[in-house]
């Protein structure tokens, strides 16, 4: 198992690197208080918008807070946000897609129509609307993003279910008198899930960017708690005097999104033999 993982990483260095990067990020997020040299909220009025030094590896922000520490403390908020959104999307989208695909008929017609409709909404705009209604804050914002993403998963799961439903083993299970409640989780789900895992990995990147956008707009993480998006929002206010402030959080977002995407694409190729030709 571990050997196979190493072989895979050697064959696909970009995906391997992404995996190592994300694993490192998780460790960083879990042990943020132990790793960060300063408290993310510790202010120092004498040392604001400072250039990077040995004491402050990435300098300080407008309130004299250590940018490096804030970046590390922003990691758990950012990862929490991405995973929350994708979890909400999965919990809503996967069962709906399974049921619509399996039951077919009018249930499928109605669900498909609803999915089409929801996919017509520009995601971030609908997320802003939902956040405005639920109340501003990171958790509400990411629940909103999750709701907005759920039709994408539902559509994919539905399409997969339609294919798997035709398989002989599903017919066999039905002949033995298995009910839908047994067939769906035991036979359909395990065989339909592979592309969904790929999509979930890719969605993590989109959710990360959505969190950054919402926090940047002031609809996500509220100060003084740091997230990479809210750090960018602060940096924006001081763009004229300290443009270098926007690089650490921006690069962190870019690299993490890139890692999720690279990993997702690699998974797609690993799971889908037809994609390997390209």
């Amino acid at each position: 198992m571990i050997r196979a993982l190493f072989d895979w990483m050697r064959d696909r260095p970009a995906a391997g690197l992404s995996l190592v990067f994300l694993a490192g990020l998780f460790v960083l997020a879990i042990f943020a208080p132990a790793i960060a040299p300063y408290l993310p909220t510790a202010q120092n009025a004498n040392d604001t918008l400072a250039e990077p030094t040995l004491a402050h590896l990435l300098g300080t922000d407008d309130l004299g807070r250590d940018v490096f520490s804030r970046l590390i403390h922003g990691a758990p908020a950012t990862l929490y946000a991405s995973f929350l959104a994708v979890a909400v999307a999965s919990l809503l989208g996967i069962p709906v897609g399974l049921l619509a695909g399996f039951l077919g008929g009018w249930v499928d017609d109605i669900v498909s129509r609803i999915i089409d409709t929801l996919l017509s909404f520009p995601a971030i705009v609908l997320a802003i609307g939902v956040t405005g209604a639920l109340g501003i804050g990171l958790t509400n914002g990411m629940i909103a993003v999750g709701i907005v993403f759920s039709p994408q998963l539902a559509r994919l799961v539905r399409a997969q279910t339609l294919v798997v439903k035709q398989e002989l083993y599903v017919d066999a299970a039905r002949c033995f008198g298995a009910s839908a409640w047994r067939i769906i989780p035991r036979h359909i789900m395990p065989n339909a899930i592979q592309p969904v895992i790929v999509q979930i990995t890719l969605l993590l990147a989109v959710a990360l960017l959505a969190e950054a956008s919402l926090s940047f707009l002031g609809l996500g993480v509220q100060p003084p708690q740091p997230s990479w998006g809210s750090m960018l929002a602060r940096a924006y206010n001081y763009m004229e005097i300290a443009p270098e402030q926007m690089y650490p959080p921006g690069i962190a977002i870019l690299l993490t999104a890139l890692a999720f995407n690279t990993l997702g694409e690699a998974l797609r190729e690993a799971l889908d033999p037809t994609a390997r030709r390209r």
């Binding site: 520009p122 405005g132 609809l219 921006g250």
Partner: protein, 311 residues
């Protein structure tokens, strides 16, 4: 054909209005209490509840709202008491200019990149295009916008850093103001167009009939232009539909960076201040734009691919 499609989008539009109106149901607690603000008296809350029709059953409220919306009355802003439609129409041209400009840039830059990469798969150029595309997809566009502002506006003073000018007032100035936001938005668009076009074109160029074309002695250039591109035009249409949806969303965030008075700043301000009629109005108008765009694309599909119309 068009008539049938129009009939098909009607339920989608009705469902969309239901979702938009349903947003209000997500507000925790009593909306009237939220609207009345802190320390409001019971009488004031009751007055607000009645003024906005919040004391009526959900479907009565929805029916009234839908009836008004169908007659282009999106009610008034809670904050400014201005008609929501006026606010939207006032700001829409600015957003439309940015979105259409960035769509144009995405296609003008993305299509050649996709073709170049697809015709030389595995080459260094192809690797460059694919890497650029992965980067473009992962790049937060508002961060790119900030970098563009810092570089081209604050440092070099080539473009204005903030604001917008109406196209009708001064076209050249309007384009100058829209250029940076459009480029910031286009990065993701270019990446998407190049990526999708590349993989669609590679699939077509490796198909059986293209091999036959080679065998009958047609030059690779002729194959690409006469057969390859004609067949990827459907893919391209799909991407354009996707992009319009995505750009309309992304412009909301990018507008904030440039302090542009467009649809984005309208909805963000409204969401923060719980001005729900404005939020609903913006979401509704954007989804209607996307639905109409999808309809147009569906019709174009049938024009480009006769098989679609018959099905």
């Amino acid at each position: 054909m068009i008539g049938r499609r129009l009939l098909q989008i009607l339920p989608v539009i009705v469902l969309a209005t239901f979702v938009v109106f349903g947003l209000l149901q997500l507000v925790p607690g009593d909306i009237a209490v939220t609207l009345a603000g802190e320390n409001a008296t019971d009488a004031r809350i009751a007055q607000i509840r009645q003024a906005y029709g919040l004391d009526q059953p959900f479907f009565v409220q929805y029916g009234k709202w839908l009836w008004n919306a169908a007659h282009l009355d999106l009610s008034r802003s809670y904050l400014s008491n201005e008609p929501v439609l006026d606010q939207i129409l006032h700001r829409f041209p600015t957003t439309l200019l940015i979105v259409s400009l960035s769509l144009t840039i995405s296609l003008v830059v993305g299509i050649p990149l996709g073709i170049v990469a697809a015709t030389r798969p595995g080459s260094r150029l192809d690797t460059f295009v694919t890497s650029f595309a992965s980067l473009g997809v992962a790049l937060p566009n508002f961060w790119l916008a900030m970098i563009l502002v810092a570089t081209f506006a604050l440092n070099w003073n080539i473009f204005p850093a903030t604001g917008a000018v109406a196209l009708s007032k001064d076209p050249s100035k309007a384009l100058l103001h829209a250029a940076l936001p459009a480029f910031a938005l286009a990065a993701g668009g270019i990446a998407e167009v190049a990526r999708q076009l590349r993989s669609a074109l590679i699939e077509i160029l490796s198909s059986q009939y293209v091999r036959t074309l080679h065998a009958k002695g047609l030059s690779p250039t002729a194959i690409l232009w006469k057969h390859g591109l004609k067949n990827v035009s459907v893919t391209l249409l799909t991407v354009v539909g996707l992009l319009v949806n995505r750009l309309l969303g992304a412009t909301v965030v990018v507008e904030a960076v440039f302090a542009i008075p467009g649809m984005g700043s309208l909805i963000v301000h409204a969401a923060i201040h719980k001005d729900f009629p404005v939020v609903q109005g913006v979401v509704l108008s954007m989804v209607v734009i996307v639905i109409c765009m999808n309809l147009l694309i569906d019709i174009l599909y049938a024009v480009l691919d006769p098989r679609v119309g018959r099905a």
